[in-house]
Symmetry: C2
Subunit: 513 residues, 2 copies
């Protein structure tokens, strides 16, 4: 979930200055338009210590017109506040319609910290998160534009930043013993954070994860996301008005969704595609891992351990080949491969998840999805088959669906097979010239290729929203097919071995139904 | 919450036959229109045993065209089902777009029973309810019309029905030892039911509580609610289409919301307005209760026990008089009376609950709201100041708001002062003739009077949705002002006495913050 914010994204100074000059002007313009609008903008900042939450708020404070801005940071509750229900402090500071409110250490702070320090159990965290859901939904239902920024740093990066701050005489005061204590509790903090983001991120109240390492990058990212969100909302209001007024105007088209700055690395571009494996080593390892898989799947079958594999990836990235290397090792009665293409009429008449629910296998079997429900946030998003509100809410729907699987004890593995555009082109050309491969290449493949950047963005967002500790994405470097196949087999075997030992997946709460 | 379904509503046979003849035709017509629509109808039945769930489903099965109908009852999971995640059985039985699905003992059954039998803790129930929320929201987001009927009987009524069934040789098989066991667990069952309905009833997936005593009444009620919901949804789809097509048509106006059959008793009509109190007894009791209140409020102040009173009621029902009898007993520094009239500009610029949050007092004080947040579901609903989707979702927002208060330990009491239309008219006339009372009577009072039936319906719905075990509505028979005042004072004192003893309200979970 946070991997997309551990890519060392930075912004050079001159680039920064050029962008900020434009951005400030745009933000001021939107702010003045916002004054006549009928909704407030509620912006919440949370995240890892030293990831620049307050610095970013300071920057926005500098860029925006402070007359129409509310900035609030919440410390320990005052006596006045303690004598009222906890949310009183937040309600009274809410920005009115037409204004922007920036909130630091607000309603997310205490629930997460209570959990991290162990003063509150997981159930208590969940209760808090339900409160938050209700609160934010009430605001959003009332029209508020709710935006939440999670400023992120990896554990290493956090350490480096804390050290750096300590070494700077002007900034050293920022680092306290509490910060180092938090750093030691990093894993627990991230676990709470993931749970929090999963439960409170909705399409009406989305989280935006921002990498906090580079101060220029993070400030511009937040500024751009804020600008786009306000602009889009104002545009939607104008469109709605135009529609009800009967006006149609092409200039009212909604702009394309961009969740990150152009030119920045994605989870895919950060992969090392140079990884290869020697032909001889490959042959040996293939036999070895397939033998292992065969043994493991027999045990899994006997113990009722069900496995579900998802394969997604670029056209010609080698999904089919990888799948065949898996199935070759398994008794045909123990697996099924489900090819996901265009839905049938019957499937179209149901919720888009219905076709996947119906494919769930009995206990002890393996189901392999060649493409999957992730089509909703990949092809359907990029090609416009799903409207923005549909694919945006799909992240939560998919997480919920996978939660059903995991809670039932199913071993779930998701592979993204990644190749470079150059390698894909090479394979396309090869297909074109080899007769028995030519059928595989369609017009659509060439068309999809033109949208590489859009797909890459969609994959980045998909990993950000749906790679969780319980159901992580495995990104497979696939320029070398042999390396890809071995990585898939080995990951699968390792996971299955653990599951067979424990009699199911390693659900953190160990519940069984 | 269930009081509105314990009013012995019945339907005479000839009335029933007349209504059913029309209703069947309407339902068949809608069903045929539905076939071309792009959404399914998902109808869930749950409720008290012997309240006629399956009988009602049988009736619908008789009335509707079964070719376009899916009826499913879920028993113990099969082996096939046990080997998949629990919701698999529900997903695979979902009705496709254009069809109606009726579901018995479906996703609500097991969570509630597990809790009632004590095999699962409250946290487990909450987890199940969150699953349900996500499931139903996914369906609703996808366009499904989701309707949930809670068939209700009071504990006495349930006993009578079980006895009656046992005595009927043709029906005796329906009653099992399990039914009697459930009857003995009635209170626990109702507690779970209230929690379930509160958490899973949203404006997109509403609960409809239907009194299950009379088989004719309940069948027609369900049929009418179903008819109106489908008709409204089809109308909304047509309107949306008309708007996007640029067509405007007055016939597309949404019809008025009716949640119960006309002519049936409401919670208000079931009150005994003949209750009076002698003048001498009144004087004595007034002094006595005021003295008691004075003592109790001193203690409450000392112990930090905060009280919040809500007064709602008909115009001229005596809210002001009752409030003055309360405040007369209390130190002026310990209370404030908040008059709720038209919101200020500043208040209008915020969420409608903001103005109430800001009035919450410090610990140990009493705040009296003369009219309140309930205006949202009363005057704003009836006068159309709030759109249907706004006041419908307000029930959940209000319950959430009051939950904040109760969890904080605040003693919350809600009074509805009820007078008959005749008594109101008498008081209006009196006001008109007595000079020092004339200012109280406005044009608006006369106008509201014309909408008596709409208001009564709104009050009935309000009690149904917001009278909970932790924050019940106190319905006060107020044709006799003296009786009303004593009832208010006594209820308040009793409640405060308990709270002062326990150091807060009697929150069932005993949490403190």
């Amino acid at each position: 979930m946070f991997r997309t914010a551990e890519l060392n994204r930075t912004l050079a100074r001159d680039d920064y200055e050029r962008q900020v000059a434009v951005l400030r002007e745009e933000l001021l313009g939107l702010q003045s338009e916002l004054q006549r609008a009928d909704f407030p903008v509620v912006v919440v900042f949370a995240g890892v210590d030293a990831a620049g939450k307050s610095e970013t708020v300071n920057k926005l404070n500098e860029w925006l017109d402070t007359r129409w801005l509310t900035v609030r940071a919440f410390d320990r509750p005052s006596d006045e506040e303690l004598e009222r229900p906890f949310y009183w402090r937040f309600w009274r500071e809410l920005a009115p319609r037409g204004r922007i409110g920036l909130y630091l250490s607000a309603w997310y702070s205490q629930p997460i910290l209570d959990y991290v320090y162990g003063t509150a159990a997981a159930e208590r965290l969940d209760e808090h998160l339900e409160r938050i859901q209700n609160f934010e939904r009430a605001l959003a239902d009332d029209g508020a534009l709710v935006l939440k920024f999670w400023m992120h740093l990896s554990k290493d990066a956090q350490k480096k930043r804390l050290k750096k701050l300590e070494n700077d005489p002007l900034q050293a005061w920022r680092v306290t013993a509490r910060d180092w204590e938090h750093w030691r509790l990093y894993e627990r903090f991230i676990a709470a954070a993931e749970r929090t983001l999963l439960r409170t991120g909705t399409s009406a109240t989305p989280w935006k994860i921002v990498e906090g390492w580079d101060e220029r990058y993070r400030a511009v990212s937040v500024g751009v996301i804020l600008r786009d969100a306000i602009r889009r909302r104002l545009q939607e209001r104008r469109m709605l008005k135009a529609v009800t007024d009967g006006v149609t105007d092409d200039t009212l088209q909604l702009m394309v969704e961009r969740s990150m700055l152009p030119g920045q690395p994605t989870v895919l571009s950060a992969l090392d595609l140079g990884r290869t494996i020697d032909r001889d080593v490959y042959r040996e390892q293939l036999l070895q891992q397939q033998g292992r898989l065969n043994q493991l799947q027999r045990k899994a079958r006997a113990r009722g351990v069900t496995t579900l594999l998802v394969f997604e990836g670029w056209d010609a990235a080698g999904k089919g080949g990888a799948i065949r290397r898996v199935t070759a090792a398994i008794d045909a009665r123990d697996y099924q491969v489900v090819q996901i293409a265009k839905p049938s009429d019957e499937e179209l008449a149901h919720h888009y998840l219905w076709r996947f629910w119906r494919q769930l296998s009995r206990a002890g079997r393996m189901t392999i999805f060649d493409r999957s429900w992730y089509g909703r946030v990949l092809v359907e998003r990029v090609e416009g088959f799903a409207a923005p509100h549909e694919w945006r809410r799909a992240y939560a729907e998919i997480n919920d669906f996978e939660d059903h699987l995991i809670e039932h004890g199913i071993v779930l593995l998701k592979f993204w097979l990644h190749v470079s555009p150059e390698e894909q082109l090479r394979r396309f050309e090869e297909r074109r010239t080899i007769p028995y491969k030519a059928w595989k290449l369609t017009e659509e493949d060439w068309r999809n290729r033109d949208r590489w950047a859009d797909y890459e963005l969609a994959v980045n967002d998909m990993v950000e929203h749906t790679s969780t500790r319980r159901a992580p994405w495995v990104l497979v470097e696939s320029n070398d097919k042999n390396h890809a196949r071995i990585k898939v087999l080995k990951t699968l075997c390792d996971r299955l071995e653990k599951a067979v030992k424990n009699g199911g997946n390693d659900k953190p709460n160990g519940k069984t139904k």
